[in-house]
Symmetry: C2
Subunit: 394 residues, 2 copies
């Protein structure tokens, strides 16, 4: 009785989520302390204290209808103004309130901008491995997903294949740096090359190709690595940001889109995105969260715990002979499976109570993702299991 | 450059929103106190104190990752359990946690269930006048909207035409009672007749026809009028609820879907709706709001102010010779325009600084909607303007 498209989803379901359920099952069987769940990107570090304090401060305002009421679909004007100013200060950009649309997280923002841009069969390019929800978001609007093969072993975007895959129907390119699932950060040089390719193809085809920068991990970069702000390198860039990881608020669904005035067809893109926010059923981003994050624009979750986990895990995996992409950002490590079939490898890991996500779920078989946003104590206890896993392949 | 569908929306834009902007413009020109804005359904009554207190209480919990983190896409289990129990107590139903999916308001819920159900060209019936966003929600999933003509002057659903319009492609029927824009509540007898028609047509065509009850106004009913709980009258009923009006939280985007286990293809509907929540980009309803409303399930916004406005306005409009539908619920009054062209009538009202929404925006020309969720003081000051408006047609 349900929609045919949805029946396919129900049958397929999400590998990541299935893993989440498996975690719960194993925890019941063996005790939570004996299960090492690295499957979900759910921040383990608490939000900065200022975030909670700001929410309480906003709640104590006298005008409750302002705090909890409707506002423009694009969001509270003063919030958007504060975000624009903060971006300008950090990145030397020139945004104003009208360039910002508050969204229900980055997932909401991506859906809004894809609805805005995509006609049926328009093509959207993404670089494997990538977050598989992109496939679903693009399918929501009958677009066609065009994956670019991974560049092994550095997992920087494969620019040669990228250039080949751009066609007259390419409407958008999604870039995610720091990257889920690899933890890799795209260098400035890479971004410059990518921009040059896109500009050349826009000329060749007489089209506009929008670069969508999906940036939930922007603030999670280590060793002082710089994460280039993409609007500065390519005119038709639209940024989708989320506070899910930077302020550890994934359940609150708060983020924003940046639509710079330089993008082609700016007025229409802006108006359509505002309307898309409404008609997709978001209506607006949650009001209290908008008002709260505006008071915390200089705050970031304390990433030292992630950084510590990153180093501990990377060193241990190296010691055990695993091959990893260089983890410079986000809270994921991308590891070569010890057999060809990553699903079989994940099943084997499960025997040692290690819950990992197969690379196939990110359009890149042969690898696994380890989400190290976990208690350091649990991480250290898991090392014996990783050792047993490695041994089982010797 | 944007999607063709969206270009159409940008050109059309929302009449209600345009009115909202007109209000801001007039307020600047004539002073806010001299503009009588009845255009938006934005609650004027503050949320109950318990709602704010609950939010603060939740924020003061020690486990901030629980308060702000990811949970199952369907929502916090204990929240869904509390809502199911509260519904069972109020309506004698038999729901459990698994029948409830927390949503980003009712708009989010409607999009989730329409995505779940609709194949392209499936038909969805709604009774004019109806909230015009339904057209957009149905179009999001390539469904075909089939409006049933209004039944004048009582604005109960036109059941004769309803029966004629059901076809083998009818997948869903949307019912909204108490009704936006009419303020009418559908009687139990009406609901029973409607259910009988649908059951008969399901048999005739060998199909399942889902009744979607859009219920943001359930708690706003006056004079002790009963609002029937639709799952009790028709097996294939799915309820979309929102706390936007009942707790004055429209900006927070919190509501839920009820999917009773009796509905055809229950498991698939439930699983697909949970997946739709994720892939449409909502991911989950805002976490803090979920936890807060669960503590306020017996609370309702103080509707005495709306009731007072309702009586004052209804009496005044009667006195001035206007024709109104019987306003038993919500916070809207549905009034016959004093000329055939409701847009011209709205333009005339604007000259007296009265901002109303034309019936055309609800698929029912010749009428206007007055949203009386406003300050009583403003309402009373507006009466002179209504008088002048009526006079201008004598």
């Amino acid at each position: 009785m349900i929609a045919k498209k949805m029946l396919k989803y129900v049958e397929g379901s999400s590998v990541t989520r299935a893993m989440f359920e498996e975690g719960k099952r194993q925890a019941k069987l063996y005790g939570a302390e004996n299960v090492y769940d690295f499957s979900l990107g759910n921040p383990s570090v608490e939000p900065p204290k200022a975030v909670n304090d700001s929410m309480i401060e906003v709640l104590q305002q006298t005008n409750q209808n302002k705090v909890h009421g409707y506002m423009s679909n694009a969001g509270h004007e003063e919030v958007r103004d504060a975000i624009a100013k903060s971006l300008n200060q950090k990145f030397g950009t020139d945004f104003s309130e009208e360039n910002i649309i508050m969204t229900v997280g980055a997932a909401g923002g991506l859906n809004v901008i894809l609805k805005t841009l995509l006609d049926p069969e328009d093509e959207v390019i993404a670089f494997a491995p990538y977050f598989s929800e992109y496939n679903n978001y693009v399918a929501n609007f009958d677009g066609t997903m065009v994956p670019v093969s991974p560049s092994i072993p550095d997992f920087q975007p494969n620019l040669e294949e990228f250039a080949q895959k751009i066609t007259a129907r390419t409407k958008a390119v999604i870039v995610n740096t720091p990257n889920n699932p690899t933890g890799v950060v795209y260098s400035e040089e890479t971004i410059q090359k990518m921009a040059a390719i896109m500009e050349q193809k826009e000329k060749e085809f007489g089209t506009s190709i929008y670069l969508i920068a999906d940036e939930p991990y922007r603030e999670l970069a280590y060793d002082g690595v710089e994460v280039p702000y993409l609007t500065k390198y390519y005119k038709n860039t639209i940024v989708g940001y989320s506070y899910s990881k930077s302020l550890s608020l994934p359940g609150e669904r708060i983020g924003y889109l940046v639509i710079p005035k330089e993008v082609d067809d700016f007025e229409n893109v802006l108006n359509a995105a505002t309307i898309a926010t409404r008609i997709l059923g978001f209506v607006n981003a949650p009001s209290l969260q908008q008002l709260a994050v505006a008071k915390c624009l200089d705050e970031t979750t304390d990433i030292t715990a992630y950084d510590r986990n990153r180093k501990l895990l990377y060193d241990k995996l190296q010691e055990l002979g695993f091959t990893c992409a260089k983890p410079e950002g986000a809270f994921y490590m991308w590891v070569k499976a010890l057999e060809e079939d990553d699903n079989a490898f994940v099943a084997k890991a499960k025997e040692f109570h290690l819950l990992l996500v197969p690379g196939s779920a990110f359009m890149c078989p042969g690898y696994v993702r380890i989400a190290y946003c976990v208690d350091t104590d649990m991480l250290q206890r898991s090392f014996v299991a990783f050792e047993k896993l490695a041994d089982s392949y010797r």
